[in-house]
C-alpha cells in the first residue's frame, strides 16, 4: 500500500530521482512540521539570531582566508582586507555589525521567552541549552575582539582577561589559561583565534542543533495558557489553533530576515568598521572601553570591589541559566507573575543605568 502511494506520488525530475533512492520525503515532512499556535508571538527573534549566526559563519570563513593570526601580520592582514581586497571592507563590516546585532537579538529573544514564560514546563531544557548558546555567543564577541590586533583590541583584551583573573580561587589560573602566558601576547592571539574559529563554532553548532531539536519536538509555547502537566487537571479549553510552520511561519521568518539583512547592509555601509593604530603593549590609549554589551560589568567594576564586580555578573548569569528550575510556577501571563516581572524590570533598569554611565567617558 505504502509502496503504491510512493510510486504514484513520487515527483519527477531531480527531486524524484533522489526521492526514489533515499525516501527522504517523510523525514523532510517531519522536519517541516512544528506546532505553531496561532496565538504565538515570537517576533522572529530566535530565527533572526540564527540567521545572523549564518551570516557570521559565511563572513567569518571569508575573513579567515585572508587573516594571519600572528602579532606581526594580524594588523597588516586586517588592514589589507579593509583596503586592498575587493568588498573586504563590506565583509568585515558586515561581520562586525552582525556580531553586534546577534547579541542584541539574542538578548531580545531571551526577554521574549521570559515575558511569555516559555521557559516553563516542558521547555526547561530548551532554555538551559539556550543559556549555553548565550555564553558561547558572548565568548565569540570576546575572542573576536582581539583579532584585528589594534590598540582597542589589545587593551580591551588586557582589561577583559584581567577581569577574568579577578574570579576568586581560580582567577590567576584562568588568567594564565586565557592569555597563554603572563601577558597578552602572540600566545593569546593564537588561542583566541583558535577558540574563535574552531572551538566556539563547533560548540555552538552542537548546542544549536540540540536547541532546534527541542523546539522542533515541543513546538512553540502558547503565551496565553500554561502547558497541561501530567497528573494535574486540564482546564477545559477549545482545541489549540495551529498554523503551518511551512510555508506560513517560514515565509514570515524569511521576510524578517530580509529586513535584518537590509539593516545590516545599511549599517555596514554607513558605519564601516575602522582600525585603530597597531597594538602597542607599552602604551595604553586613553578612555579604553569594551563593547557595549560588556559596559555594564565594566562600570560595575568601577563602583564595587573587584571580587564582587566579577562574582555578581557570573552569579547572575548562572541564576538566569537555571531559572526554569527555580521558577516552577504554573502561571504564564505576565500580570500573574508580578515578582518575576518586577525582578526582570529591576535587572534591566540596573543594566541600562550601568551601561549608560559606562558609556560616558
Amino acid at each position: 500500500m505504502a509502496a503504491d502511494v510512493r510510486s504514484t506520488r513520487t515527483p519527477g525530475g531531480a527531486t524524484g530521482w533522489v526521492e526514489e533512492r533515499l525516501h527522504l520525503g517523510p523525514f523532510v515532512n517531519a522536519l517541516l512540521h512544528v506546532p505553531i499556535p496561532r496565538d504565538a508571538r515570537t517576533f522572529y527573534l530566535g530565527g533572526i539570531t540564527l540567521f545572523l549566526f549564518g551570516i557570521q559563519v559565511v563572513t567569518g570563513t571569508l575573513l579567515a582566508l585572508y587573516y594571519s593570526p600572528t602579532p606581526d601580520a594580524a594588523y597588516e592582514s586586517v588592514l589589507s582586507i579593509t583596503s586592498d581586497v575587493s568588498f573586504g571592507w563590506l565583509i568585515r563590516s558586515v561581520h562586525h555589525w552582525a556580531a553586534n546585532l546577534m547579541i542584541l537579538f539574542m538578548a531580545l529573544h531571551v526577554l521574549r521567552i521570559f515575558v511569555q514564560a516559555a521557559y516553563k514546563y516542558p521547555r526547561e531544557l530548551t532554555w538551559i541549552v539556550g543559556g549555553g548558546l548565550l555564553l558561547i555567543t558572548i565568548g565569540f564577541g570576546f575572542t573576536g575582539y582581539l583579532l584585528p590586533w589594534d590598540q582597542r583590541a589589545y587593551w580591551a583584551t588586557v582589561v577583559g582577561t584581567e577581569i577574568a583573573g579577578g574570579v576568586p580561587l581560580i582567577g590567576p589560573s584562568l588568567l594564565l589559561l586565557l592569555r597563554g602566558g603572563a601577558e597578552v601576547s602572540e600566545a593569546t592571539l593564537g588561542r583566541f583565534f583558535g577558540i574563535h574559529v574552531l572551538v566556539l563554532p563547533l560548540l555552538l553548532g552542537g548546542l544549536l542543533a540540540l536547541h532546534l531539536l527541542f523546539v522542533h519536538q515541543q513546538g512553540l509555547a502558547n503565551p496565553r495558557h500554561a502547558e497541561p502537566r501530567p497528573g494535574r487537571p486540564v482546564p477545559a479549553r477549545p482545541p489549540e489553533r495551529l498554523k503551518p510552520f511551512f510555508p506560513d511561519y517560514i515565509l514570515d521568518e524569511v521576510i524578517a530576515w530580509y529586513a535584518v539583512l537590509a539593516v545590516l547592509v545599511i549599517l555596514a555601509s554607513l558605519f564601516p568598521v575602522g582600525l585603530e593604530p597597531k597594538a602597542d603593549p607599552l602604551v595604553t590609549p586613553e578612555h579604553i572601553k569594551p563593547e557595549w554589551y560588556f559596559l555594564a560589568v565594566y562600570q560595575l567594576l568601577k563602583l564595587v570591589p573587584e571580587t564582587v564586580g566579577v562574582v555578581a555578573p557570573v552569579a547572575l548569569v548562572l541564576v538566569i541559566v537555571v531559572l526554569p528550575l527555580l521558577d516552577r510556577g504554573g502561571e504564564v501571563l505576565p500580570r500573574r507573575r508580578p515578582i518575576a516581572i518586577a525582578c526582570a524590570v529591576l535587572l534591566l533598569v540596573g543594566l541600562a543605568v550601568l551601561t549608560y554611565f559606562g558609556a560616558q567617558v
Binding site: G12, L65, D84, G88, I91, F246, P247, D248, L251, Y258
Partner: protein, 177 residues
C-alpha cells in the same frame, strides 16, 4: 523541482488570503479563474526575480572578495638589477628573483639571456647546468636551449618565456612590466 513547488506556494497563498480575509479574498473571488492563474504566474515571476536578485546581491561581494587583488597577482614591474658581468662570466647562469617570480639568467657566447625560470611542464623551477651547458628542470629532466629557451628534450610542451635583458656597463638588468 518545478512540480514540487507550486502546490506548496498555492497552499500558502490560499491560507494567507484566508487569514487576511476581506480584501484579498474578495478581489480573488471577483476575478475569473484564468485571471487568477495569470496573477499567480505574475507573482511567481516576481518571486523568482526577487530570489535571483537577492542571490546576486549576496554572491557578488563574496566572489569579488575571493578573487585575489591585483597587487597580489602582479609581479614587480620595471628594471631589476640581477648582478654584474664579473659575477656571471660567459658559460655561467643563475636563478634570480624578479618581483615575486624567479628568472634564469645565462651568459651565453651570444650575449646575456634571461627566461622565466618556471618550467612550462609542471611549474618546477629550472636550474642552470654548467657542465651540460643546458637549462635543466630537476623534476622531469626537461632540457632547454640557453640561447633560445627552446625545448631540447623531455616533457615540457613549450619553450621558456624569454625576458628582456639589458647590460649597462658592468651591470645586468632584467626589464619587465
Amino acid at each position: 523541482m518545478s512540480e514540487g513547488r507550486p502546490p506548496a506556494l498555492e497552499e500558502g497563498g490560499d491560507r494567507t488570503a484566508a487569514g487576511v480575509g476581506g480584501d484579498v479574498a474578495g478581489a480573488g473571488g471577483d476575478e475569473p479563474a484564468v485571471g487568477g492563474f495569470a496573477r499567480r504566474r505574475f507573482v511567481r515571476y516576481l518571486l523568482g526575480f526577487s530570489v535571483i536578485s537577492s542571490l546576486a546581491m549576496i554572491v557578488t561581494p563574496i566572489v569579488g572578495f575571493l578573487i585575489p587583488s591585483r597587487a597580489a597577482t602582479a609581479g614587480a614591474g620595471g628594471r631589476v638589477l640581477v648582478g654584474t658581468v664579473q659575477a656571471l662570466p660567459v658559460g655561467s647562469g643563475a636563478i634570480v628573483a624578479v618581483g615575486s617570480k624567479p628568472a634564469v639568467v645565462v651568459n651565453t657566447p651570444g650575449g646575456v639571456k634571461a627566461y622565466s625560470a618556471i618550467c612550462t611542464h609542471l611549474g618546477c623551477i629550472v636550474a642552470w647546468d654548467a657542465a651540460a651547458t643546458m637549462i635543466i628542470c630537476p623534476c622531469h629532466d626537461g632540457r632547454f636551449n640557453p640561447a633560445t629557451g627552446a625545448v631540447v628534450s623531455g616533457p615540457p610542451p613549450a619553450p621558456l618565456p624569454p625576458l628582456t635583458t639589458a647590460v649597462e656597463g658592468d651591470e645586468i638588468y632584467i626589464v619587465s612590466g
